[in-house]
Symmetry: D2
Subunit: 445 residues, 4 copies
């Protein structure tokens, strides 16, 4: 992935240095496990472990390994050759009975659990920002919109709570995806443990916080990686949803919220309103890319027989890229939401732009309850609603001037029917559902 | 979905009759819950419930509702009108404070949980078939292949156990997807419960085995549906993997297994070998279609503001279709695996087609252990392996005739090195991991 | 596809009756071509043709063919049996040397050319509507928006011209896709013409307006179908673009245009502004579905060896569905654009909502030309632009009251700088590029 | 894209240096065109052009521009600042009336035409290899397979001719995609040419071999880029098809062809048959990745209003990546096919593995022609065919020993019925259709 959309933390997870470091650790852990069960002599393995620790920096040298690979044309053999050159002949106790895939797939599992941990941290940043801002605007009224058209009042806090609940679901999905991907395979050429004891796999698994893959076929089955990628795609879609909400709110005509704009930052030289929602637009594009990883990941599942290597290129490129993009996008989203500039007055103005029509149904209901036949009540309300809309006058005033209305509802009652709080009486309940304990500090995700 | 790829059980879940039936039940459940908390009078609701039960068949009449819809141009209003026409004026206590989406989304949740239940049953069929056949062929030797090229021996039971483990994972994923999708929303126009008490939602949820959606925005958030669809896509990819395995095994040159061919069924008029793996090829195509539902489902997540209706068409078509296809494909797969014709002798022939080369590494190892320098041992083995391959002679015999070999390994020892059981000594362990208790009856999924 | 999203014209193209009719015609055409070159006797073929014409209705009977298929388990054999039953033994001259795929693939090619013709007609409807409305609003000013933020003035006609140009490109793409798909294969079991003369293929091709497939392998290669589907996906994306434009314009806060709302149609019982852009939202969803067909179509390309049948299910379902949806969506779009209600006054109001800031750059330029250093000019303009924005006053007035400005630009000059026509001076040029001859009647697509 | 899957030629097309070089050339071309029509003074522009030529290397300095961008936070402004710093104040005549997108989109168009040219060259390599090998094996018999099951004879040259025809179609598609993408936009802030004369765009277009975009809206419409990407996806699918053919042919049981294996290259230390088709497996994976670019490209089409910037990230990453991967994959494919090791004897062995069953239909036909009732003839042939298959005996011999057969067909006639040449009599015709003139040297693509 290009640096512009990468954070060093996630890039490091997939760097050549990290990979070689894990390779070394997995090979040593396997050799130690073999020594433990008496499959290889303990002494040279202990010596090897010590040498490896002493020369760790020299061992983890992608450039040198690549040089050797230019000759051997096989990356794992190149690495083992390099280890032998550095650590001497005890290195022959490495990789005994293993196949390259044992090393590669276990390493990928470790990298993906680390990637998952970063993404979980990122999701927490998003959740924290959303929770804080949701409570800040718990009762900030704004218009709810269906189909882009004004409907009834909500609060801005409810919008953010809804996003919080969605990201909390994504967090749970990622926890499970991490669990699914965290398996270790040290099972030999076609997964039969013909030349390596299953206890070695068990020991390596424990060492790296993994579970043994119940059954591997040289490789760890790729439905696990596809499931992991599917969760990235779900997260991406949720990012897109929130990004599009911000883009809508920042439209010139709406202007209820804006991405933070650094002092001195220029959208346009002379048009002060020209602050473009470039972060959220960028997030929309990133979401498209992350999502695109899901089909190749699914296509990777159907490897031929015990394995073919068609998945490898996809996993070298798209799997790291999808992780890097998701990490980058989540951190960008967290900051964007943390710093989002909110305009409650403008929300109020927009809310009132339909002259109180958002409460027309309540009036209708009240007239019916007051004894008017539904059809009659409906005619009255609609007549005045039409006037409110076309003449741009407050519906409340029009109703208050209509004797057919005032015969049943006095002005005080009418005013109460336009009271926004009526719509917000269950906000506490909803917040409790979303964030947990009424104290509002729980992370109810 | 066209009938050719549909089973009536799943079609019924999404039929107009089913939908109207759930609509009726949900509306009645909501009215009863309102009566319970005193929001509406109990008596007329009780009367309505009885009338609805008495006239249930007349009420669930898609043709009649469609007639009314042609006038009202709104399906939910048409349905309510129909209920009123049949049950009389107590019907006015239905739908109070609800929005159409409350009804539609809760209904969809119920349909999807039913679809999930069918798919879980289907997965059990697949798992049962795989488990039975895996135990049947637990020790049926066949060649393991990486890259389509012969590698080392496995058993046919291991292949099936690997598929079992994958479908067991899919089963767990579907259980969670069912859980995720099983939420109920009765929260009114923009999800604020302005005109409907949250206790109504809670009561309806209980009635249908759902949980209340913590926060809805007129609609249930669509990441839930996307997560559900992602699991269908994962199942599809696993179906494809197993289907491709069968297609490979049935190739004329391989012929280790065949789809069941009914007596009298003709692949070709005069070529008896022309039995085409049409079921597994069909499953490959169905997998492509199911998978195709995942991107639209992800694109559906980012609805505008509190909702737009762009997701609706996708969910009317692709969501039922993906469920119907997955159901159909799983049942077809289960039967296919149940009836798969397996040819152990041909497996044995293929296994031996490389003249024992699959054991060359073991000989190499034995020579090294017997004291030969690795490089020397390697030269000897490779020389004879090359002959075996190019002259088509058994490697065992060639080695047994090579004095450099027999100086270190006698014939008895050599024969043991070609013993297939060596490769199968951990099959029990693997089966235990996959299927649970060694009795082999557990469903370890 | 469900009737809700289908037009009978396109459904007919893929109906069982149509298919059987084409089968009959292709088989007869092949037999006649064989008679022509003396491969079969002419007389019985002539007799058969006459009988087939006489009994055409009885022959095209999907229910009867399905009955027979229940026994033969092969659709083409069932059809031939049916023909024999109806027309007698001359029917044995049908299908000689042909393989089922010859019939199926040639038929599909004919269906897809018909589908293409319908879609081309639909595209013409869209183009006509766009051209008419573009000329109608050629000089209707509205604000141009980048990033959803007001930028500089455009005309509503330019927006429509842009859409016209895009659909004109799609039309050209569909013409080429039609051309690509219009091939005929009558080449026998594995495409070698072993038992059928290539001249038969040539004659059938001519009869149906197709070209012979240069090389088939039992089947017509599937990259052709994938290319066709790709064009449907492109059309879908253009539909989505225009639909999203309408959805934006109809937002309550923007309200520059609205989908036509039938008198009496109700968006909401009492909120007259609640007219939801449901057609364009629906088009957005349909676009997602059409687009989803492209990946399976691409996956269908890599059939095994001379062919497998994995593509068949995809083509039975998704290819007709994608055609039906594209046809439906285009006709819906054409009507929607034809009837789109446009609000030029509201466009004007929105245009002026930024108090003339859209012309700030022109003032800046004019001051520079009048001799002020750029940096100085910039400071002045930005100062007044900020006031205009924050105080809500017309920029023109503020500038006209700023002595530093009036020292260089008098009021008349200032007013000219705010003249919208300045922005529209090249509209003619653009229209000419898009629509052709300045008369504006050419369909320049 | 990672270096492992990149060729320097295509990487260079999208390098920062190339981009800055094109920026410089486009800006200078625009300034010169303005000078030409008198919009700016000619002299300083001429001076600027000379200075730019003299300092070209200093100007094209991504590191320096990036430094400035760290301050300006806008890449185009950073570049213009850099040019001014290097070339002095005449640089103020650059970018007059232009918007950044004019520069970026025209540059992208130039890069994509160059990418297209490389891909066309690559396609020619593939076509050349396929044509050469097709003629080499024009009459090399091998079995044709449908459903992976032996069908009737084809030649290996026909397989390659089929691939040739498919890539020739892809070449034509790429030629058109190049044409579609080759447009230039120099039309200002919202595409109205308010501050830049259309003649400038026309002149720049001519300079770079582009056509003016008929109507742009700040940006070039993205359906063009989606159409381009669709063609890459089609090419990818054709690559996958041929790669899968090779993978099938190289299977141990089939072994009709193999990827070239360098002397000394090791698939496995001791198993000489362990030559894995790693190139074609890799191509299969690359195809998945390229194809994945098509959905984001389609999603990019529906930008909001005159443009948003959501497409930008996708185009920074996936568009270059898709070009780089396609280029890499095509060159790899060309070499692989050029060097493919073909085993005609093994093809012959496989062809004969079904004991002559591939000719059973011809015998059936001959018996019928000889006067036997079809049903009777069928019984006879099938009976012997079954024996041939189950007893492993040549069908010819069995038939020659069956008096019911020999009563109608003598041995000489029988032998002719098994003659492979019968199947190849139209190979010349097909080659002529695919490759053009019978001389066989034409590139009929």
């Amino acid at each position: 992935m290009i640096p512009r959309y990468s954070r060093p933390e996630m890039v490091a997870v997939f760097s050549p240095e990290t990979k070689l470091g894990i390779w070394l650790d997995v090979e040593l852990a396997a050799a130690e496990a073999m020594a433990e069960i008496g499959a290889v002599p303990a002494e040279p393995v202990r010596a090897l472990t010590q040498k490896a620790a002493a020369h760790r920096e020299r061992l983890i040298d992608p450039a040198r390994v690549e040089e050797i690979e230019a000759v051997t044309r096989h990356d794992v053999i190149a690495f083992l050759t390099h280890v032998e050159q550095v650590c001497g002949e005890e290195a022959r106790f490495l990789h005994l009975g293993l196949t390259s895939s044992d090393l590669l797939d276990t390493t990928l599992a470790i990298q993906l659990t680390r990637a998952a941990d970063l993404i979980l941290t990122d999701l927490d940043l998003v959740l924290d920002a959303l929770e804080r801002r949701a409570y800040e605007h718990k009762l900030t009224p704004c218009i709810g919109r269906s189909h882009g058209i004004h409907a009834e009042p909500v609060t801005f806090g409810l919008k953010l709570a809804s996003a919080f609940a969605e990201f909390a679901r994504n967090r749970r999905r990622m926890v499970r995806a991490r669990e699914e991907i965290a398996t270790c395979a040290i099972s030999g050429a076609v997964g039969t443990f013909a030349n390596v004891d299953p206890r070695v796999e068990a020991a390596v698994a424990v060492r790296f916080g993994l579970r043994p893959e119940p059954i591997s076929t040289q490789v760890i089955p790729r439905d696990r990686h596809a499931a992991f990628t599917s969760v990235l795609a779900l997260i991406a879609s949720s990012i897109e949803r929130l990004a599009i909400e911000v883009r809508h709110l920042q439209r010139t005509e709406v202007r209820e919220a804006e991405e933070f704009f650094a002092a001195g930052q220029k959208g346009s030289s002379a048009m002060p309103h020209k602050r473009n929602p470039v972060l959220s637009e960028n997030l929309t594009g990133l979401a498209r890319m992350i999502r695109a990883a899901v089909i190749p990941a699914l296509e990777n599942v159907a490897l031929w027989h015990e394995r073919d290597i068609s998945h490898s290129s996809v996993e070298r490129v798209m799997l790291p890229d999808a992780c890097i993009l998701t990490d980058f996008a989540l951190v960008r989203l967290a900051r964007m939401m943390e710093n989002l500039v909110v305009y409650p007055e403008q929300m109020r103005r927009n809310l009132e732009a339909t002259h109180g029509l958002h409460s027309s149904q309540r009036v209708l209901l009240a007239l019916t309850e007051a004894g008017l036949p539904r059809q009659k009540a409906y005619e009255i309300v609609q007549r005045q609603a039409m006037r409110a809309w076309h003449e741009g006058k407050p519906l409340l005033e029009l109703l208050a001037g209509d004797p057919e209305v005032t015969a049943h509802l006095d002005r005080a009652r009418l005013e109460r029917l336009f009271d926004l709080d009526y719509h917000f009486k269950h906000v506490d309940t909803i917040f409790e559902r979303v964030f947990g304990a009424p104290a509002g500090n729980g992370n109810g995700g």
